[in-house]
Amino acid sequence: MTGCVCMGAIEANSRIRQKLEAFSDDMQQAFNVAYLEIVADVRKDVEATYLNRLYNNSCLTRFSQMEVCQDNAVTFNNIFKMLGECDNIHPADTEAIRALGLKYGYNEEESLCIYNMRRFEITIDHMRSQRTKTLDILTGGV
């Protein structure tokens, strides 16, 4: 009888071990699937937030659609004053950009956008200056 119980216990233990191993594999797989799904969701969310900040509900969109009126004329004019003072600031120096914006009454997002506008304006102006030359080259004028 005692031998019987021991054999039964050993058998039960072995089955429990097998179950635990299968459970471990199962858990690992479930973990990987859930993990990848959540990571993909988080990535999508964060990406959407940044796109939103950069383009949709951004100062850039506001500045693209802004219409000047009596109430915002001074604020509007300050954009040009700030644009004129951005050239000596390095893009990585966000503190200086923020401080300059604050001086003209802009928050951090607005300040960074105005700074970016200046950076891109320089590039656009430069590209335009080369455009005529390009057309001359393409039409054989040079």
Binding site: E47, L54, N56, M117
Partner: protein
């Protein structure tokens, strides 16, 4: 009913459950921080796209790159049509594929897209500069 006392087994299963959940959440927490940092870097890269913006800022037209410069302006114009589609999560992929179709890599495409977006804002502000001055002078 079993003659065994199953309470210790249940206790261990509960503890394991809690521990696994903790490990899972810890891993996700780290991943979230990394993803945020990654996306921030990607956003900044797409804005300043180090190589492309510097290249465009310093480019000098010559026989070899004349067509390339012309293609930049053509793509800038083409991007004007998709500015209002940016809410669509696939738009950035469209930006890249349109750039690719014109012979630009991802970095260049992002940069040209930004040139196009900022160009609209700059043009709008410039178009109203005189009106703003008028308002200010009339108030003075």
């Amino acid at each position: 009913m079993s003659g065994f006392n199953m309470l210790p087994v249940h206790g261990r299963i509960d503890a394991l459950h809690g521990e696994l959940e903790g490990l899972f959440n810890d891993a996700l927490k780290k991943e979230r921080v990394e993803i945020r940092a990654d996306e921030r870097r990607a956003a900044l890269r797409s804005l300043y796209s180090t190589g492309a913006l510097s290249t465009f800022s310093a480019i000098r037209a010559n026989q070899d790159n004349a067509k390339y410069i012309t293609r930049v302006f053509k793509l800038m114009k083409a991007y004007d049509d998709i500015h209002d589609r940016i809410e669509d999560p696939d738009t950035m992929e469209t930006v890249v594929s349109m750039g690719k179709a014109s012979g630009f890599d991802e970095d260049e495409s992002h940069c040209i897209y930004n040139l196009s977006r900022y160009n609209v804002a700059i043009n709008n502000l410039n178009s109203q500069k005189v009106i703003a001055t008028d308002y200010i002078l009339s108030d003075a």
